[in-house]
Symmetry: C2
Subunit: 285 residues, 2 copies
């Protein structure tokens, strides 16, 4: 996998149930706009706010809706290992390009051995030769960082299975250290802000929330990297600064699609307040 | 509910599957030793490391095994709202005394409105008149504190439904503030270290990990409160200091029961190292 992926927003109905039809439409349109792939059930997707069955149902809907499994890296990391195993197995059997795996995120201060075992047991438990794992490093939210030493052990134990990482730390030095330490490891940054520099360093691309709204331009900045394209996508990204990112992206999606249901988020998230909404609408004009 | 409850340790087999028979035996014996009730699927229980179906299966095993539902306050709070709803509904229909509800614990920096909605939607979603909710405040692990203002709103919106809290913050000032702010609210502290003082302040009791191993003495310290009893239970508690608490309790349970399978924890936790094990065995002698 190479290029730009979106952690796809998850559409809800007024009763907070998931809406597979709207989800499939968004996923198809993002690929048509030039994204290399999709990472459904990530942080931006409110993935951890979805029941295991809901993730399964949405993945089925994508496949039935004609989205190629080879374009998908669904989020599978749960607090409970058996649920991670179940989602990994399903994704691998469906032929997904990979899975994006959070570490278990309830207990904090977990040691290297515990982290290593968490990933190892998930891989062993899934028992699928076709499984490809992208680690998901997002310490500011999960509060469970994935240190280099754990990755080193995983690469030694699962060569060809643990193939990459999404580094959402926002720390360019960590992305560089990953590239330097593990040649061939597919490193995606979590923000298009770092895209051009990361590609120059040998990175694989980015998996970024803003790609839900600005897919075409970010995909182009990947294909034709350079300062000018980078400036263009930075300018769009900056419009969302100062807002809670997921509600703001959903507000923007509601505006673009004309469908106010896109505003709906699941608790603990809250949609934009009316003043925030006006401010964002102004900014996006 | 009043008195001392244990967040019951969850027994696993060598393949990390849950062991309902051993779980029922432990729960029954803890009640026989004088505990007022049990809080299965708490933090000490590795509750968030269990799949929803596993929690359901273990709860069924308890009820079939003769543990009275009226003694149970199972943990039901998940990162995903539909899973919390499902577990709350099950517990209420089974006649459980209540549920112990973590807030959704993936997203951090959640505001009061988002927290309020998380609990409100779980209660509304369960739709069970018999549901009784104990909030679970354990900010050092969940990283999602439950502020007084949210509790105030919940008590106004759900009188007689939101009935209490487990305050595991270890902050005696917070427990006092809860008692002062909400007369009649059942406040349990998360450590027997605070038991005597908390009862003097009008608290309802404690839900404490160490009750898995020292049930009789802690139950007695509740029935006959005073400095002497407090010193006795503090002395036992201090034996576990300096160890990772869940693996240490499981080690102690393995020692006491003669069943080494009690040592098994699920990742991301790790059992005690051999040196830690020796040190704990020495201490417990």
């Amino acid at each position: 996998m190479q290029g730009v992926l979106a952690p796809v927003l998850t559409p809800f109905d007024a009763d907070l149930s998931v809406d597979p039809a709207r989800f499939v439409r968004l996923c198809r349109s993002l690929l048509e706009e030039g994204l290399s792939g999709l990472a459904p059930f990530g942080t931006t997707s409110e993935g951890t706010s979805l029941a295991v069955e809901e993730r399964e149902r949405l993945l089925d809907a994508l496949l039935e809706g004609g989205v190629p499994a080879g374009k998908l890296i669904p989020g599978t990391g749960c607090a409970a290992l058996p649920e991670t195993v179940r989602l990994c197995r399903k994704a691998a059997r469906a032929g997904c390009a990979g899975v994006l795996m959070l570490p278990p995120f309830y207990y904090k201060g977990v040691g290297e051995e515990g982290l290593f075992r968490s990933f190892a047991r998930a891989i062993d438990g899934a028992g699928e030769a076709k499984l490809r794992v992208y680690l998901y490093h997002i310490p500011q939210i999960s509060q469970v960082p994935i240190p280099l030493r754990v990755i080193e052990r995983l690469l030694a134990a699962y060569p060809g299975v643990v193939v990459g990482i999404k580094d959402s730390s926002g720390d360019a030095a960590n992305a560089k250290a990953l590239l330097r330490s593990f040649p061939g490891f597919e490193v995606f940054v979590g923000s298009e802000r770092l895209l051009t520099a990361h590609l120059r360093d040998g990175g694989s691309g980015c998996i970024t929330a803003i790609a839900n709204l600005n897919a075409r331009a970010i995909a182009r900045a990947y294909r034709e990297p350079g300062e000018e394209r980078q400036k263009e996508i930075d300018a769009v990204r900056s419009l969302f600064e100062g807002f809670p990112v997921i509600p703001a992206l959903k507000e923007a999606m509601a505006l673009r699609s004309g469908d106010p249901a896109w505003r709906i988020v699941r608790p603990p998230l809250v949609e934009l307040s009316p003043p925030e909404r006006s401010r964002l609408q102004q900014a996006l004009k």
